[in-house]
């Protein structure tokens, strides 16, 4: 069962990556990132169970805290974006272009 939980964790992580690179909607990209985090969390939990050590649980908790912080910031940015550009498109952001 743990083995399969790990398989699932890989699958969720990969789906998250796919979401990040395929979608242009900021919300979806954001949620895809959350999905990646959750995939990782599942991995932590599964390994914690496997090794009977609760460090994995603590790590998962920390990840959730980080995710919450990230959510707060990301959503603020999304609000700003929508306010200024009226768009939810990641392609609006190309400030990195030289």
């Amino acid at each position: 069962m743990i083995e399969h939980a790990l398989y699932l964790s890989v699958a969720l992580f990969c789906l998250g990556v796919l979401g990040v690179i395929t979608r242009r909607n900021v919300f979806v990209v954001f949620m895809a990132i959350e999905l990646m985090l959750n995939g990782a969390n599942l991995g932590f939990i599964a390994f914690a169970r496997l090794h009977e050590s609760m460090d994995g649980h603590v790590l998962a908790l920390l990840v959730m805290a980080v995710a919450a912080a990230e959510a707060a910031l990301a959503l603020a940015v999304i609000i700003l974006l929508h306010k200024h550009k009226g768009k939810l498109d990641t392609n609006v952001f190309n400030l990195l272009r030289g």
């Binding site: 398989y7 789906l15 959750n38 939990i45 306010k83």
Partner: protein, 170 residues
């Protein structure tokens, strides 16, 4: 007896929710689909004897974060015109899948090489709030405090970013 069955059902739900996240055009639908995944994951954590994490997943993730996202989506009152043009979606999907395959294969290879055959019996009290709390506040105290600072910074940042008045940012 019912545990494996429950496990596979929840796994299926998680996968379906994730795929739904990728496929739905409107973010509201995608968010609802993602909530399914999160809840299913909470169930899985429970099955893996992580009771505290199960609770927090439900409260923080499926509860707070998801509702925040939903709130914002609704708050922005998204019209179909606001949605980006995602015409090349399928090409990206195919290309991304192809590029990810080696990574996935490598990870699977790694998992297989662990050769986990049976699930060991969880020790008593494993994953309960007390046990985890002891670990958290002894071994992980410093990271915990740092994360608290991170949360504070994010809080301030979010207020600064989203709280700007129109025209006041230049």
């Amino acid at each position: 007896m019912s545990q494996p069955l429950l496990f596979y059902a929840l796994s299926l739900l998680a996968i379906v929710g994730a795929v739904g996240l990728l496929m739905f055009k409107h973010p509201m639908n995608a968010a609802m689909s993602f909530a399914v995944t999160l809840i299913a994951l909470a169930g899985l954590y429970g099955l893996l004897s992580a009771t505290l994490v199960f609770a927090i997943q439900l409260i923080v993730y499926a509860g707070a974060i998801m509702s925040l996202i939903l709130f914002i989506i609704m708050f922005l009152n998204i019209q179909p015109d606001d949605l980006p043009d995602e015409s090349g979606y399928w090409y990206y999907l195919a290309g991304g899948a192809a590029a990810l395959t080696p990574l996935a294969l490598l990870l699977l290879y790694g998992i297989n090489s662990l050769s986990v055959t049976s699930t060991p019996e969880a020790p008593p009290g494993f994953g309960t709030i007390k046990e985890v709390g002891v670990v958290l506040f002894t071994d992980w105290l410093l990271p915990f405090e740092i994360v608290s600072i991170l949360l504070l910074v994010a809080l301030v940042g979010a207020v600064v970013l989203a709280g700007k008045r129109e025209g006041g940012n230049d």
